[in-house]
């Protein structure tokens, strides 16, 4: 791993939190000695047991929280304050409920002082691209889950950040909508030159989308292994299973992940997905 060419670099990052209960505080580590480099233009997925610090790492790249020790570098500079150069899409779509779809799509451009005419024309283009034309003036509560997610996606793409952080973005969606959105995401990304860091708990999703998969150990999170996804591009997310290299790669990934998931978590996962 060339530790100097990454657009995002974590250099020996530790993150501690303090859990406060009645009159007692206990510090614990969420991330332990994480060193990582994400090369520009790549689609990189983070997978690992729940609670291992994946969201924490994304929050640090976005500058929302600071490492306790170590440094996060972004485009050859340490991340100081809020990193407005990245786009951040979370599991909740976080649309502003008091704004219509088009107003939500335009909000980042407003923050960035883009003129109204320019905002409208860009919004129109992106809205059409994900098939939301005709719903511009609906409020978020009048949209379906998939439509809200598309809105959240394009309101970030519209200001063309070079790096997009996505934290389990398709988690709450039904299986069909999920695959459709994965497909749309790949089409929007391919050839764009953008870097995507994508957190998911779904190994198939990680394989279908990524160039590279980073596997985290259980908490406190460390990087256990980094994989190069052996599938060729362009990919057909609807048929990744059919790729001859898929089964062996999936098995290896799952075996490595399984070691990290304690027996308790396994039971939880079985019940959770039941």
């Amino acid at each position: 791993m060339a530790a100097t060419s990454g657009v995002i670099e974590a250099r020996n990052v530790f993150k501690a939190f303090v859990a406060r209960s009645h009159r007692q505080q206990r510090a614990f580590l969420a991330l332990h000695a994480v060193t990582l480099s994400v090369a520009p233009g790549r689609f990189v997925s983070f997978v690992g047991p729940s609670g291992c610090g994946k969201s924490t790492l994304l929050n640090m790249v976005a500058g929302l929280i600071r490492p306790t020790q170590g440094e996060i570098w972004y485009k050859s500079r340490p991340v100081g304050g809020i990193n407005t150069d990245v786009g951040y899409i979370t599991q909740d779509d976080n649309l502003l409920p008091w704004r219509t779809l088009v107003e939500n799509v335009e909000v980042a451009l407003e923050f960035r002082g883009v003129a109204q005419a320019e905002r409208h024309s860009r919004a129109e283009r992106y809205i059409a691209r994900v098939g939301l034309a005709g719903f511009e003036h609906h409020y978020p509560h009048e949209l379906s889950g998939g439509m809200r997610k598309r809105t959240a996606l394009i309101r970030t793409l519209i200001y063309e950040p070079d790096v997009i952080l996505m934290d389990e973005p398709f988690g709450p969606l039904d299986a069909q909508t999920r695959v459709i959105l994965q497909d749309e995401l790949l089409k929007l990304w391919e050839g764009s030159g953008k870097t995507i860091v994508f957190v998911t708990h779904d190994l198939v999703e990680a394989i279908a989308l990524s160039d590279e998969i980073v596997l985290f150990s259980r908490a406190p999170g460390t990087i256990k292994r980094v994989y190069e996804v052996p599938l060729a591009r362009p990919r057909d997310v609807f048929r990744v299973h059919a790729d001859p290299r898929f089964p062996a790669f999936y098995d290896q990934l799952w075996r490595d992940l399984k070691e990290e998931i304690s027996q308790m978590d396994l039971e939880g996962a079985v019940h959770g997905h039941g």
């Binding site: 976005a62 500058g63 929302l64 809020i82 990193n83 407005t84 990245v86 786009g87 951040y88 979370t90 909740d92 976080n94 502003l96 409920p97 008091w98 704004r99 219509t100 909000v107 980042a108 407003e110 923050f111 960035r112 409020y139 509560h141 309101r155 970030t156 200001y159």
Partner: protein
Amino acid sequence: MATGDLAVERGAARLAAGARLLEDVERDDVVRRRRDRRSTAIGRLLFAAAFFAAWELSSGRIVDQFFVSKPSAIAASWWAMLTKESLLYHLQFTIVEALAGYLIGAVAGLIFGFALARSELVYRIVEPFVVGFYGIPRIALAPLFILWFGIGISSKIAVAAVMVFFIVFINTIAGIRAAPPQLLQVARVMGASEWDLVRKVIFPAATPFIIAALQITVPQAMIGAIVGEFISSNRGVGHLLSRAAGWLDTPGLFAGIFTLLVVVLLMNLGITSLGNHLMRWNPKHHSLKDVP
């Protein structure tokens, strides 16, 4: 080729049938809404009529007319007030006091609320003091304000303003603190400035609280103005009321009270329509009705 045409035709027929159905549903909806509105209006009229009729008939028969008067006497007394005691002249002072107090109290409450709630440290420092001041029965400040501002209009404005201020202030803080932190974080990453956050995220998120406070403080402003006038004044509806009380003029008292009631209702109407406009994004404010 021919079957293709047929399919297109069938598709068109289905579309037309669908459009007709939607038209019917819309027409039914208009009719139903009109009927609902009419029933509400008629229901209200009947309720008022029954209320006043019961009052009129029971007064002097079941309860002593000296204490409860009766609608016909009140109407006569109101007319006398209007024509002989220059009710409108007095009303104008009361309205100005209540309105000015309301605006000053509400704006100050909003400004201080925003200033305070945005800093966690400042908030924690002043919170107990705010709660303490809030605990003062604000009416008890009225004599003090008359001492400070004299018996003119400004002391009543001050009383009305404190009645409004604390409620708006406390609700504003509650509303701001209820803004979802994830929304703020995402907006920050999208490049929002502090002013953007206040204007485009925090304020809208706090509007349900603020609107509620603006609604419940309308009568509070009126209470402040009237109490101020009770204590010392030679003008205003409060003055008319205390004079009527001095003369043991029950119909006069009721006439004054009804006048105030109407004024407060009208002010409330204004605030409610403002609230409905600001809250149009809120699903609770819509009546999304599905169709049987």
